[in-house]
Amino acid sequence: MGELADLITRYHVLLAFWMTVRLTTISALGALIIGTIVAVCRVSPVGVLRWFGAAYVNVIRNTPLTLIVFFFAFGVLNTLSISLADPHSPTSIADNNFRWGVVALSVYHASFVAESLRSGVNTVPLGQAEAARAIGLSFVPSLTEVILPQAFRGAIAPLGNTLVALTKNSTVVSTIGVAEIAYQMKNMIEFSPHLLYAIFLLVAICFVVLTLPVGAFFTYLSRRVAVQR
């Protein structure tokens, strides 16, 4: 036990856990924003936007997250040299990796958010859209005032599942050197192979603690706010 405690301090496991939490929450926000925009494009009256929405979902959802993380790290940051941090700051590398990791996670999960919202839109009865148009609302107000509020409530369960998946998928940014839990897990195992089981359990419990309450909360919320029909 003492040995495991040593490992935990040596590899900054608490910091790594905090990093996973930060990656997850900020990316969730980003994914929600991008995903909503894509979903709106998909149901909009303009053909080009509909095409863009569909293309976004089909391309992003079918590409492994690993490759999407690579595109941002090696394509955008390293090749196009678009930096999200002050290049002269003493932590510019860590900041850039974290921020581009967040962008990659947001972009990837936005496709699932968009699909969840679309399924949410499908739960809104036709009469709602017809009524909105009947009282003279055009596309944008009928969407923002009538359809989307109901769609979000109908999409809560899949959105919750996307958040759980995002929490787990945040491990993938360890490949570009972001010091989150999976990154430290690899280092710890290679440093102390004989503690394999304890290290695995420690990391697994971190994720159970993060994901189980979130899942339960969203299931509860989806029942709570479901639109009575």
């Binding site: 080009v48 079918n62 690993t66 040299s81 969840s116 859209a129 596309f139 599942n161 998946a165 787990k168």
Partner: protein, 296 residues
């Protein structure tokens, strides 16, 4: 399914048509400018990613025969074996969870919930080091790591699919089975399970997309999959960016095809009067079905 979305707006009048035209032009311009910036950045002499030297290697047979296709084959091999083992594991776990034996049901429940919470990458890392340090496998430790990592997670997902599939069948099915003298177990295996599995087929094909994408994580533990094959190749020509674009295109084509197969299966099942899954408004109470939306 797409009917409601088109009803969100009226048939456009002359003013709306002008507005739509303006939005269309603006959107096209923004997309083209973005594309132009990316191309300009790639062509920049500091990067010179668009030179022929970085792209012509893809015309050589050896690129495909020695790196990309063996890599793709390994990816398909790991994904195929994983999905087969996951179906077996998932059916057993799902039935276990539905069992009237409380202890068995609880054990299966804990197992499923635990492995649904653990990231696939964490499971792969553990399985890989387990093969290396504990089992002392002579060979193929990364293959073991990839398959075991994928199977534990996907068995749990499929177990939930089975549970919801059986749960969505009318109660009369089981009762009719019992009435003609079948035992609980026989009713499950002969009546409920075949229907649940058939209803689940489209979801299974979609799950294969998830598995294929997750196999790409295997390169982190040194599995010679498509991503790793591509990277070894890119070391020769210093063309990592073009190689990543080609690999992404390969994944998109395969996964998009699989998604279409899943949709076609679903439609053909529905035509036969079988529901390919619970109706949309049940999604809320059905985490497993909805999980597909977010699974990596």
């Amino acid at each position: 399914m797409s009917a409601p979305t088109t009803l969100l707006f009226d048939e456009p009048g002359p003013r709306a048509r002008t507005r739509h035209l303006i939005v269309t032009v603006a959107a096209v311009v923004v997309l083209l400018v973005l594309l132009g910036l990316v191309i300009k950045g790639l062509a920049n002499p500091r990067n010179s990613q668009l030179t022929a030297a970085k792209w012509t290697p893809f015309l050589q047979g050896s690129t495909w025969a020695d790196y990309l296709l063996p890599g793709l084959l390994s990816t398909l091999k790991a994904a195929g074996l994983s999905i087969v083992l996951s179906v077996v594991g998932g059916v057993l776990l799902g039935i276990g969870r539905l069992s009237t034996n409380r202890v068995l049901s609880a054990i299966c429940g804990v197992f499923v919930e635990f492995f649904r919470s653990v990231p696939v990458l964490v499971m792969m890392l553990f399985a890989y080091y387990f093969a290396l340090y504990v089992l002392h496998l002579a060979d193929n430790q990364p293959f073991f790591g990839v398959v075991v990592g994928l199977v534990f997670y996907n068995s749990s997902v499929i177990a939930e699919l089975i549970r919801s599939g059986v749960g969505s069948l009318p109660g009369g099915q089981r009762e009719a089975g019992l009435a003609i003298g079948l035992s609980e177990g026989q009713a499950m295996w002969l009546i409920l399970l075949p229907q649940a599995v058939t209803a689940m087929l489209p979801s299974l094909v979609s799950q294969l997309v998830v598995v294929l994408k997750d196999t790409a994580l295997g390169y982190i533990i040194g599995y010679y999959d498509l991503v790793r094959g591509g990277q070894t190749f890119a070391t020769n020509y210093g063309n990592l960016i073009p190689t990543m674009l080609v690999m992404a295109a390969m994944f998109i084509v395969i996964n998009y095809t699989l998604s279409r197969v899943a949709q076609a299966l679903e439609r053909s099942l529905q035509r036969r009067g079988r529901v390919g899954g619970p109706p949309a408004d049940q999604l809320i109470d059905n985490p497993a079905e909805a999980a597909k939306a977010g699974a990596s």
